[in-house]
Subunit: 148 residues, 2 copies
């Protein structure tokens, strides 16, 4: 399906990655949007806190590579919905330690199961070793080593 000039957009990795990412995100989005009215930035923050426990906004940003304004707004919305609490760090009062409330933890656990099922469904489209190779290559493309 390449064009008359021999360049095939459907094979161009950045394009292909975007199409695949959008498709995969959309299906998952239906869940967190329908159940909790969340945005993409919000479930990311929720998952970071659910997985790693107490973290600061900066810590989430470093791990998720999200700009701090996105996180600031996502945190504000999650706080308004009583999904998390903020607590100034007494050792450095610039920092705010974030933590999920019980309601936030419940939402996280719920969505985590959805995520597990969905991820399994996606991976099941391929041979196990292919799926593993896919994850490995995506990690390589995502670049920047884990800042943990």
């Amino acid at each position: 399906m390449d064009g008359k000039d021999g360049f095939d957009l459907q094979e161009f990795l950045p394009y292909l990655l975007n199409q695949a990412a959008e498709e995969a995100s959309l299906a998952f989005q239906r869940h967190y949007k329908a159940r909790y009215g969340m945005l993409r930035t919000e479930w990311r923050v929720l998952f970071h806190l659910g997985i790693y426990g107490r973290m600061t906004a900066g810590g989430i940003g470093a791990r998720a590579r999200m700009h701090k304004t996105k996180i600031s707004r996502a945190v504000a919305r999650l706080e308004a919905r009583r999904f998390l609490t903020r607590c100034a760090d007494p050792a450095d009062r610039r920092r705010e330690v974030l933590e999920l409330t019980p309601a936030g933890q419940a939402a996280y656990r719920d969505l985590r199961e959805v995520a597990r099922d969905y991820d399994a469904a996606l991976a099941a489209r391929f041979d196990p070793e292919d799926a593993a190779a896919l994850r490995r290559m995506l990690r390589a493309l995502a670049g920047g080593d884990d800042p943990g």
Copy 2:
């Protein structure tokens, strides 16, 4: 690096796909943004017309899975920069056939070479058969068969 509860966000395919797509897009964006001040929607339209020749906005939308308002605005901007012309289809005056101007074709050919180089650089990170498998899996994940 998974959390205390055993869910590893860094392995979750929708998340991983987004991280990889964002990273790959960003590097390519630097080129079309710096050289032509284009947005993502604009280079996509440009490439579709460069590759497939004359197309309508609807045709591009079907192929690229972009919403028609995005295309409408991208086309308007590309037209303002004299990169394409519109021409009402006499057989159906609702439709507008789009076509690159010589300037648009030059921009396309320029960016096409950048894209080729960049794609090759990305693929070179993996064994050839792995890169091919990656593309195949991404196509599968992108779903929706080519509406050509």
